[in-house]
Symmetry: C2
Subunit: 208 residues, 2 copies
């Protein structure tokens, strides 16, 4: 009955295994039978740790959200970075996550676990305006972003654009992956967003 570290508690191990399965094969392919088998425990024990499948996935999503949020904070709070570097940092945090989030999986969640899909959307709605609002304000303060625009509105604009663009049906139409969508949207958005000075810094860090 020793108090266990959070890192290697049974719960953490279960969540980590489930996360791998989920991102590798999707929602339906992650069955409780398989998960228990993979972990070398019985379903009985599995249900002893978690009340159900959606609870597990919910915690996975929340964990990812927390991680991303923390990494974002680190970038935003680093006074040594200029605007373009912070933007680079923010994109580098998000891009790997998007790369392993397939349109197929999002669609599966939307269809078979709408509550989970909704939770992801809520996380985005909460975090994107916050992060990009701060980012744009910092950009304005240092003259890299046009001072005449409203940073919060710009953040919302970005959120709504990304929400629409990463919707499964849209992705099917554009034939783009979430990651490509991010890159293209970013190029477009910044092209109209930056002052000539900010544009130069940007181009150094995002070579064509």
């Amino acid at each position: 009955m020793l108090p266990e570290s959070a890192a290697d508690s049974p719960n953490a191990r279960i969540l980590e295994t489930a996360r791998r399965q989920l991102f590798a094969y999707g929602y339906n392919a992650l069955t409780m039978d398989d998960l228990a088998h993979e972990l070398g425990i019985s379903k009985k024990t599995l249900y002893l740790h978690f009340p159900g499948k959606d609870a597990i996935i919910g915690l996975i999503i929340e964990g990812i959200g927390r991680t991303i949020r923390a990494e974002m904070e680190a970038v935003l709070n680093d006074a040594a970075l200029n605007f373009a570097q912070k933007l680079r940092g923010v994109v580098d945090v998000v891009a790997p996550r998007l790369a392993q989030t397939s349109p197929a999986m999002l669609r599966e969640l939307q269809r078979y676990a709408p509550r989970i899909h909704q939770k992801i959307d809520e996380l985005r709605q909460k975090n994107i305006p916050y992060v990009f609002g701060r980012l744009f304000r910092a950009g304005i303060a240092e003259g890299a972003v046009r001072a005449d625009l409203d940073p919060d509105f710009a953040a919302q604009f970005w959120l709504q654009a990304m929400r629409g663009l990463t919707h499964p049906d849209t992705l099917a139409t554009t034939h783009l992956t979430p990651r490509q969508t991010l890159e293209k949207a970013l190029e477009l958005f910044t092209g109209g967003l930056l002052t000539p000075g900010g544009r130069k810094d940007y181009e150094k860090l995002f070579p064509r």
Copy 2:
């Protein structure tokens, strides 16, 4: 009752729509209800054209196989190409197909439609030895491939390596996409395959 061209017959339209759904969202997400709805026809009419879901998918797979095979023939029969150019051509035929074949979809097929998965494997077992056997023989004839190796064995070697590497479970372990797997495997395989002369031609066309 005019005879319809093969291109826009109802059957071709159904297959094309089903193919898009299949590659965009996977096997389970392709339901007969949705397919009929998408096509603007009733399930009754759909089942009038095809005996069932797996028949449709089987025809899709066969069609892709035929297309690839024809493109391969065109490359192999082009006397103007040297070995490295033919290899480049063959890879360029396969790579786009692999790019849209996700590990998740393969796994889904393996689990829910083992017959289909098996059919894909059979197509590979038939075509890879044939194509690469011919390719290697041509390479030997022009001195780009070591003359002391058996081209059919090399083709089998390649087949077996690719089969193992693109198995869903392997992909989950390597964290590679099928396409990355192809590129990495190709680099490795040719590195030990070519004479110094063939190696030079190869490096011109596959810059590091």
